[in-house]
Point group: C2
């Protein structure tokens, strides 16, 4: 399963930790709750079509050519800007949501591109200040 997490944030560098938030009513929650590892992908401008697909119907998010299994058997998407392999350390349930706290166990840098951001219901990229 895969989903678009707009809430991923660093939680520390030594050891490397990240957290993200998710609704426990989401279609991904039953899988996530039982998972040991998660592959976190950051997307660039070239990944706009993938980004749109990952945010749409959850039964149509993965195309066979998009991904392959890594050494741990975790599906990793191709052509993204980076991949972090996360091991879930702790899940904090808050109302109908959860904060998922993870150790970063491995990282891969992919193709360098402008970042893909989501702002006011559409995808944008960054613009340097004068």
């Amino acid at each position: 399963m895969g989903f678009t997490a707009t809430s991923v944030t660093s939680l520390g560098a030594t050891p490397p930790l990240v957290s993200f938030n998710v609704a426990r009513g989401s279609s991904s929650w039953p899988s996530l709750e039982k998972a040991e590892y998660v592959a976190l992908h950051t997307l660039g401008l070239n990944n706009l079509e993938l980004a749109n697909r990952m945010a749409a119907d959850h039964t149509k998010r993965f195309e066979p050519a998009d991904w392959s299994l890594d050494a741990r058997g975790i599906p990793v998407l191709h052509g993204v800007t980076s991949v972090l392999i996360l091991k879930i350390r702790q899940i904090v349930e808050v109302e109908s949501n959860a904060v998922v706290i993870c150790d970063v166990v491995e990282g891969f840098v992919g193709t360098e591109q402008s970042p893909l951001l989501y702002h006011q219901r559409s995808y944008v990229t960054v613009d340097k200040l004068a």
Copy 2:
């Protein structure tokens, strides 16, 4: 006290919740750990000077003209894009860091501006895709 939080994320809408991450070694931690309320400000392009000050020497972050006290006695900065008054609900300590989970108790919308983002060690704004 004030600090720049790049990690603020929504944790749910009903009830409205946000979380942010902070290093427990930071200069703000002793105050934050004891606080009941926090004022969360989002900054726009017009707030660049304030943003730079808030990320620098922690003894020089507040100028008298920058802020006033709200009805709860919480310092609120002027001229920002929005302010959320947060009540700290739970603090989850993880290694030398913490996830701070808050209820949103009140919100104010300020002046509309392009958002101020931090990317590759400098401030940027958004650029619409063609």
